[in-house]
Symmetry: C2
């Protein structure tokens, strides 16, 4: 079958790889209906995170179960399933605490499993899914083409934006600012609105993304960044926001997020902090600003968010502004890297 | 009158200074009944935080109101009052959010006020208290000598330990570990127990402090530090603690606290992070560990904690293991610095 691999920075290829097969009785094999490129894939694409050897890439996919191992009980061949960006057992202490990304036997797509064997990436024609019962969530039926993009966001960006808002403690009446106008930041706007935020402010300087932020429920959009952006926010709100959602992962964004938070407020951060080697605690300590977040356990939120997507009350799939056949995956990375697209869907 | 000053590292003096007087109509003058030396005073004493010029020191005191300005309405001469370690207006947005330490017109004892005038320190015979209405809390009557130490802890260490537990999210059923066996760490044990923690583990290698931790409600005490201490904790609890309270403020303690927290748990930190220039976000992000805390708004907790102290249901005053006349303040600092005393009370 065909799958995406990365060989070096800016060197993305679609290659023939062995077909996935059941290796353990808890595995499933899923034929990919749709996948996508994530902002976090760009860390390796751009060489910020080193690429050691050619390896599979991609961690967001939905598809149809083709085969299951003998111990798999919750999904069966023919089921349309959502795969969170981490696989997890569903029964260990971390999974029970709703932190499936810290599952003691789980892991990430396109990375090594606990025995050191590489797990498939999501940007391919099919995927072997370990721990299928803990990982996959089956839909009642395959979604329509209209709903497919929103369902696909539940593998990562919508769940991640939601995680920022949950960890940030957004609740009815909160004032919320969102740093980052990528797909996760935009989904964080959806999440904040959905959790009852009284006012949502998005930082964005791109007209298309500004428009989408407003469509998702942002009351205000601030184009300025850094100190200037924070000053505008403070003017708007009469002070810092109760909650600031950080969906970038570099130091400028984090410092802006902290500066935009009122004393006693919370930064909910979900941007992979590859661009934040170290952080000074001083501004957090001095103003009692909580730093909450991390790699989102999107599996934990599927039961809550999936019905809303299927019912159409939220439409996070609007973040996809480009859809390409898997054969054009190289073009997909280029479009993301150049910010020509917010988010690219890939169809095998 | 006499007041304590610091001239250089390890150079603490008791000196004649001008008597405090009402400068603004919102001021009060308080005659100090008891004060104390704080672990955080040792940052300057030890030269970790530079001492620029000779300056007043001390931020914990209780006493009797001697005089009030024309606009002071909540306390009057003769009232026995508790002074939180920060003064605050009580009406700005931060004060209303319960973050009085970020009051827009407030500040700290022995530091400059918003106009650059130095405010009195607490380790003296009397103190001018700015913003008396927002700052001071009057008791129904002067406390007995027995209760005095516990009342004195409400100026800082008990409120600070409580803040760690509140920000850490301790609730009935929580497993809690406490890093730091100084007065704040010990008070954090009191606070965690009081908030319903199911199990409280104290890290301490000093027999006296271990005994006090147990008296305050610690179920277990671990003498080992660092990785070894964390391993012992994980054995005890079958994993990390839901909440770890950090009451030291150096990098070793913070890293131990983070490592001792279960995925999805919270570090409630109140140790002044002078010993933590920068922190890596990686372990926090990867395991969704929330970092919550900061300089404690102890004023916010007085209404809740004072009745319990006066009723005797909590006895945080047991942290005082040495009481000296103010004239021996030099000896008080030495005893704290050498860890011969957990906490020293000073009586003018």
């Amino acid at each position: 079958m065909l799958a995406t691999t990365i060989h070096a920075p800016f060197d993305i290829r679609l290659e023939d790889v062995p077909d996935p097969r059941i290796l353990r009785p808890t595995d499933a094999v899923v034929r990919v209906t749709a996948a996508c490129v994530c902002g976090s894939d760009l860390w390796r694409y751009r060489g910020v995170v080193p690429v050691a050897d050619p390896s599979r890439i991609g961690h967001e996919f939905v598809g149809v179960v083709e085969e299951v191992g003998a111990e798999v009980g919750t999904v069966r061949p023919g089921d349309f399933v959502v795969a969170p960006f981490a696989y997890s057992c569903g029964v260990c202490a971390s999974c029970r605490h709703g932190v499936q990304t810290s599952c003691v036997v789980g892991g990430y797509w396109a990375g090594p499993d606990r025995e050191g064997n590489m797990v498939d990436g999501g940007q391919g024609e099919a995927v072997r899914v370990p721990l299928a019962d803990g990982t996959l969530v089956a839909l009642p039926e395959a979604p329509s083409e209209d709903l497919l993009p929103s369902v696909l966001t539940l593998t990562d960006v919508m769940g991640t934006g939601h995680h920022a808002a949950v960890r940030g403690g957004v609740h009815p009446g909160s004032t919320v600012a969102v740093v980052g106008d990528g797909a996760v930041g935009l989904c964080a706007v959806v999440a904040a609105r959905r959790l009852g935020a009284e006012r949502v402010v998005s930082f964005s300087r791109h007209p298309d993304r500004q428009a989408l932020a407003r469509r998702f429920g942002a009351d205000d959009v601030i184009a300025a960044r850094g100190d200037e952006g924070v000053a505008e926010l403070r003017d708007l709100l009469g002070g810092g926001a109760d909650v600031v959602l950080e969906a970038v992962g570099n130091l400028d964004a984090m410092e802006q997020a902290i500066a935009a938070t009122r004393p006693g407020g919370t930064v909910g951060y979900v941007g992979v902090p590859n661009g934040i080697p170290h952080l000074s605690l001083r501004p957090l300590f001095g103003n009692n600003i909580t730093l909450a977040g991390g790699v989102a356990p999107v599996r934990a939120y599927l039961d809550e968010l999936l019905p809303e997507v299927l019912g159409g009350s939220i439409e996070p799939g609007l973040v996809f502004d480009l859809s390409l056949p898997l054969a054009e995956v190289t073009r997909a990375y280029e479009a993301m890297d150049r910010r020509e697209a917010v988010k690219v869907m890939l169809r095998p």
